[in-house]
């Protein structure tokens, strides 16, 4: 009797085994279903819709007119589009290098024993990040005014920061560096604190200099942080819109082409009711950002196996 019961207990009925396994497999998906629903409904769905619309001429209402790849080809033939791509590439390169260098060095200095009042420096360095992007752009607009701006008043020279496009781009870069240093400082600080002190102590005992510790130990061990920061910053910079337009725009209009980001072409097409072309521009920007991110990932060594 006990043996029979034992056999019964050891082997579940077929239906129960199957439903149990199914439940085990479904449970994780049930937990991530809210994210999946939001992702599909709010991102993937609209993105695919935009992809479809990019092959049509469509003003947002009425009928769609099939135009094939025409929206893409006219955008790629447009000189203004390429000028704007060059602008964002300039913003990305010109601001990333000094910004990352400053943020990293600040993190190294603040985390070292040289600095006593760390609790004071950390929030002060991070503070610009707390200012909203639009607000900081408005402040810098007055800062860079030609005749009445704060900077020119201090220098005593009427430099046309926002009228000369060669200078206007640098004004954007300066603003981006000022605003973003604090954020990456915090990221690098977190990365530095994850480096084991034993490694540093061992290096010190072995007679390694401070510079060698920084370049041969700290920087390699910070590789993942650098990868993260460069990729994310590139994505954010290549998609920028507010900063140049507030600095250089007037009376609600967008900024001049000489300093305009590539999103301006998309926005102007949207405002003119040319949704097909706007969608095409959006997908071209996506491809550009994806390529840049991929290249950075490979160059900075993001080849670690996952899972």
């Amino acid at each position: 009797m006990a043996e029979a019961r034992g056999v019964q207990l050891a082997r579940k009925p077929k239906g129960a085994r199957w439903s149990g396994r199914l439940a085990d497999r479904l449970a994780p998906y049930l937990f991530i279903s809210p994210f999946l629903v939001a992702f599909v409904g709010l991102f993937l769905g609209p993105a695919l819709y935009a992809l479809v619309v990019s092959f049509f001429k469509y003003k947002g209402y009425g009928t769609l007119e099939w135009v094939g790849l025409s929206n893409y080809s006219v955008t790629l033939q447009y000189g203004v589009f390429w000028q704007e791509m060059l602008n964002v590439a300039f913003y990305w390169v010109a601001h990333t290098i000094p910004m990352m260098a400053i943020a990293f060095l600040l993190a190294v200095v603040v985390s070292s024993s040289l600095v006593k009042h760390k609790k004071v420096f950390k929030p002060v360095i991070y503070m610009p990040q707390l200012v909203a992007g639009v607000a900081s752009a408005l402040l810098f607009k007055n800062f860079f005014g030609t005749n009445y701006g704060i900077l020119n008043t201090m220098l005593g020279v009427p430099i046309p920061w926002l009228e000369d496009m060669n200078l206007a781009r640098w004004a954007v870069v300066i603003m981006l560096v000022w605003r973003s240093v604090g954020y990456w400082f915090v990221i690098y600080l977190a990365g530095l604190t994850s480096i084991s002190e034993e490694v540093m102590d061992a290096a010190t005992v072995d007679g390694v200099s401070a510079w060698q510790r920084l370049t041969r130990i700290t920087v390699p061990l910070m590789r993942n942080s650098f990868l993260f920061s460069f990729v994310i910053d590139a994505v954010v910079t290549l998609r920028m819109y507010a900063e140049p337009n507030i600095l250089g725009g007037k009376a609600g209009a967008v900024c001049p082409v000489g300093m305009a980001p590539v999103l301006n072409t998309l926005v102007l097409n949207m405002q003119a009711g040319r949704f097909g072309q706007a969608a095409a521009v959006g997908w071209l920007i996506f491809l550009f950002v994806a390529v840049v991110s991929f290249v950075q990932y490979r160059v900075l060594g993001g080849r670690r196996r996952e899972g």
């Binding site: 439940a23 209402y61 006219v74 447009y78 009445y148 009376a251 009711g273």
Partner: protein, 489 residues
């Protein structure tokens, strides 16, 4: 020992139980959300009594007549840009003009954003969705062609005909597209030339005698000779967008493109004239290289550096705010003779989109503000910038202004910048004269896409990056490739 098996049984049971409970909970939530709402509705029934009086005997009879249908309060939606702070004012004006309708029509103002681009976007979305279409929509005239060509605007001809005799000629141009009346002029924006009359007198410049472009250039020279370190005009390296429409609308029939999709940028010499005149002004010593709404622009008025502004009539309210201490020194008149006609974007209009819920009620509200004399005057009293477009109301407004006096309760600060006090009691005369010269430019459904291209190449020409020929040719090429036929929407 069956501990492990019992544990597994307990585990599998608890996991299964959890999933069952989760499914029941989710299903219950869905059912609750989808259940029909029960709404209590109170119906007011009106019962009348008839009182019948005979010759000698008073007899009262109660008569129960057919129940009157409950009066339905209709909400008319106005979609406009900017703040909705004036919502109460708009509604109040209507109720004051039509008290008999105040229990039947109620106004709601919605604002999807701060600019006309955002409201246009909101209307497109509403039209695409097929619901949420506002009963009244505020549109700059430059946006009207897109919606008119798409056939989504109500034809107002049969409604406005009785008022046409009383409407200013300039305002009438804002009401039409392709010969059809499809808009009501909410805020016409004729061109005005604001200037420091004391400094102009000092230079011997009489605005009415500035008739040609050469006269205008000479006036600038005379001004700077008599008033050193001051400027006659401002045109910077990136001229503001409305400047293009203001100048282009001066010239009859100057269109960027024809209906068949062919462009005129190269062939019509007036575009070359536009670019060239901008460049000549830009290179003049009397031109201040500060564009409108740039960071340096407002201080130049306060510091009395910039002493003239050729702009739309909305600028009348800006100068007092920028230079409050210069009351009595500024005046305005029409633009120089050769460019006196036109406007910037035409002005703001109200349209009634097809597919809205209450088009008839929207018309009743709209005409109370714009075409009925009392409503037009009341609207002007509440918003000083919105002069009436009907002549019968204009005469009364002029009389009110010329009677002078400080409005009751007005603070010293507001009185300083109050237009009749700032410009003088004849300022409205000048406004109405300028209004008669209003003429809309040749807008097409793709004008918002074409203007940035025109601007870009003009800026390149001003900066010396392109010659005049290159700028015009490149401009046309970009328009042809990027926009194609601007009338095909």
């Amino acid at each position: 020992m069956n501990t492990g098996q019992n544990d597994n049984k307990r585990d599998s049971l608890s996991r299964r139980k959890f999933l069952q409970l989760a499914a029941i909970g989710a299903g219950g939530a869905v059912i609750a959300a989808c259940s029909p709402q029960v709404v209590k509705e109170t119906v007011e029934v009106e019962v009348t009594r008839e009182v019948e009086v005979e010759k000698q005997v008073e007899v009262t009879r109660e008569v129960e007549v057919a129940v009157a249908p409950p009066s339905e309060l209709i909400t008319v939606t106005l979609m406009k840009w900017g703040s909705v702070e004036g919502e109460e004012m708009y509604g109040r004006i209507f109720e004051e003009i039509h008290p008999e309708l105040k229990d039947q029509i109620k106004l709601t103002v919605v604002s999807p954003g701060t600019s006309d681009a955002e409201t246009n976007q909101a209307l497109r979305l509403a039209l695409a969705a097929g619901f949420g279409i506002p009963d009244m929509f505020q549109a700059t005239y430059s946006s009207v062609p897109e919606f008119a060509e798409a056939g989504v605007l109500t034809n107002l001809e049969d409604k406005v005909t009785e008022y046409l005799g009383d409407i200013s000629e300039g305002a009438k141009s804002l009401m039409q597209y392709n010969g059809q009346y499809i808009a009501a002029p909410a805020q016409p924006k004729p061109k005005v030339w604001l200037y420091r009359k004391d400094l102009f007198e000092n230079a011997g410049i009489v605005p009415a005698e500035v008739k040609t472009f050469e006269d205008f250039m000479q006036a600038g020279q005379d001004f700077v000779a008599a008033n050193p370190e001051k400027y006659f005009f401002n045109l910077g390296p990136q001229p503001i967008h409305y400047a293009y429409w203001q100048w282009m609308s001066s010239w009859d029939g100057l269109c960027m493109a024809n209906k068949d999709g062919t462009y005129n940028i190269v062939s019509d010499e007036r575009f070359a004239m536009l670019y060239d005149q901008f460049k000549q002004i830009y290179q003049s010593p009397w031109d201040l290289h500060v564009d409108d709404f740039s960071p340096d622009w407002q201080p130049t008025y306060e510091n009395e550096k910039l002493c003239g502004w050729m702009v739309g009539s909305w600028g009348i309210n800006w100068v007092p705010r920028m230079a409050p201490e210069q009351g009595g020194k500024w005046a305005f008149t029409q633009w120089p003779e050769y460019v006196k006609y036109g406007s910037d974007s035409g002005g703001d209009t109200y349209v009634i989109p097809i597919g809205c819920e209450h088009p008839e009620e929207a018309w009743i509200v709209m005409k109370s503000w714009l075409f009925e004399k009392d409503g037009a005057i009341l609207r002007w009293k509440n918003e000083q910038g919105d002069f009436p477009i009907i002549k019968s109301a204009q005469a009364e407004v002029l009389a009110i202004i010329k009677a002078g006096g400080r409005p009751e309760g007005m603070s010293d600060e507001d009185w300083k910048v109050y237009a009749p006090n700032y410009y003088g009691l004849d300022y409205a005369d000048w406004y109405f004269q300028c209004l008669d010269l209003l003429k809309v430019g040749c807008f097409n459904p793709s004008s918002p896409a074409l203007l940035p291209i025109l601007r870009n190449h003009c800026e390149n020409y001003l900066a010396g990056k392109e010659t005049l020929t290159e700028a015009l040719e490149n401009c046309q090429q970009d328009m042809e490739t990027q926009v194609g036929n601007p009338y095909e929407v």
